[in-house]
Structure formats: structure tokens, C-alpha cells
Amino acid sequence: MQPHGHEHPDIPEPEDKPPGYYEIMEIAVRELLIEKKLIGPDEIRRQIEVLDSRTPALGARVVARAWIDPAFRVRLLRNGRAACEELGISFYDDTQLIVLENTAAVHNLVVCTLCSCYPRPVLGLPPDWYKLKPYRARAVREPRAVLAEFGTFISDDVEVRVSDSTAMVRYLVLPQRPPGTEGMSEQQLADLVTRDAMIGVTTVRH
């Protein structure tokens, strides 16, 4: 084993077990693309750093800001991507972001029935269940039953609205601010906001 320092000049590959068939394919495709100068030698490592920098904490900051700043909330609902960029959250892809606001009358839920489209710049990578058949198949057909499996029960007089993501258009749920949080700071509010609440499978609790 190499000594573990704080610098990772090369892309890490596991050294203790031989790579499997698909990992060998990944290494081979990457090295061929670099040899043929179709991609740069450092681009994968730099993109891994970008991916590592994206976590639900970014989305939580956006939500908390929208709760405390009504003008920001309006801009966020008008153009999700521009409002996130205003907070310094860059979009490294060509996707647009539509922010769906939960209210006393509407609860929003986000799915990608065809694959796994997800607002990665603001939430990071999606959880496995978001990519698997049960959620993708059933969220559009019986959303209340799916929500119940997450312990979320939406009153019958509240409309449940399901949005199906595409390659170009991604969705983020703006959850309702829970009661009893009036005196909280922006950071304290952000700490309450979970990934699942921004997908819409849960609500924000205090």
C-alpha cells in the first residue's frame, strides 16, 4: 500500500483487490480517451472534486434563504438556477432547475421515471432508492402510498403533485417552513432541511 498523504495526484484505484470486469472497462475507456486527447488528463479528477463538493447542504442553504428572504423566494421560484447561482452554487451542466413550493394546499414530489435525473448541482448524487424500480414506477401512480412508506402522510385535502424530471429540466422541492422556527437563524433553519424533504418524500420537522 502507498502511504496515505493528503495529496492525491492520481485518480485513486483500489490496490487491495483486482478490479472487476466493468471497472477494467472504465479504466480502459478513460485511458483511451486521454490518449486520443478527447479529454484532458486531469479532467476526471477535477470533476470528482466537483462531485464531492455537492451535498444536500447546498440545497438546504437555498431553502433556508428562501424562508427568510421573501424577495429571494420569488426569484428562486421564477428561475431556480439563477437564484442558486446567486448564492454561489454553480451549475456544471446544461440543466435548468424548477423549484416547486409546498404550501398548505399542495405537496410536491420529484421522480425520474426514465432514469435518474436529479438536481445534482444542489443535492449531489441521488440515493439508490431514487434510481430503482419501485420508486420510479410507483411515484407517479400511487404517490400517497409511496409517501406513506417514507412515513409521510399527506392530508386528503392537500393535492399531491408529482413532477417527472428530464435530461434538461430538474426539480427541487421547497418544503414548508415548520411552525415554531420563528426565532431561528438561517444556519439553524438550514440544519433542519434534509435531502429527502427536498425530493418531497418527507417534510421538514422541528
Binding site: M25, L38, E43, L51, L125, L132, R138
Partner: protein, 111 residues
């Protein structure tokens, strides 16, 4: 078994509205090669070599059997290879030779 006309009407990744099992809230820590595969997808998109929709259709083109047996990122890397062949950017021979080289480099624990 579904009839062929049912398979034609609904391609293997088109799942919306089907009946399915309860959601199991599974999550796993992404493996290093899976993260590299994800980064590769983004970099291929930046260079306008393979975009998200091409990637999705490339997975679809693997067919129902592979889709059901291969994992998420296994499907991605196989789709990338096929799309790169179709675009004439790599050849199957290039990939076979390179995979042998990578395998030999890692396989016996010596480099």
C-alpha cells in the same frame, strides 16, 4: 413472460406507472470506480461527446436482459463504450487491447 408487443410498447427503462414492490430505502456508499464513471459521464457531456439523453438511450439499447442484470454504473460504462464505437471515436479492438493491458497491470498484484 410478456408478449413481444408489450415489450415494444414499453422499453426496459420506461417504468413510470408500472406496479412494483414497496420502496426499500437502500443506499450504498459509491465505489471509487463508480464515482470515476460518474465524473466521466459529466466530462463526456462537457465535451459534447455524449450528452445525458444519448447516455439514457445507450443504456436502453443494452436491452432488457443486461439492464436487469448489470448495476447502474456497469450499464453506464457499457453504454459509453458502445456509443463511442458508434461515433467512430474508439474501436472495439482499441478497447479489447486496452482492457487486457489494464487487466495485466492489476491482475497479478505487480505493476
Amino acid at each position: 413472460m410478456p408478449e413481444s408487443q408489450d415489450l415494444l410498447k414499453r422499453l426496459p427503462t420506461d417504468l413510470g406507472g408500472l406496479t412494483a414492490e414497496p420502496v426499500q430505502r437502500t443506499e450504498h456508499e459509491i465505489e471509487p470506480w463508480e464515482k470515476r464513471c460518474h465524473a466521466l459521464a459529466d466530462v463526456l457531456d462537457f465535451h459534447k461527446i455524449i450528452n445525458t439523453e444519448e447516455k439514457r438511450r445507450g443504456v436502453e439499447a443494452l436491452g432488457a436482459e443486461i439492464i436487469s442484470k448489470a448495476s447502474y454504473y456497469e450499464r453506464w460504462i457499457a453504454a459509453f463504450a458502445n456509443i463511442l464505437f458508434q461515433k467512430g471515436l474508439l474501436t472495439p479492438g482499441d478497447l479489447a487491447r486496452k482492457m487486457e493491458e489494464v487487466s495485466a497491470r492489476h491482475g497479478d498484484g505487480r505493476t
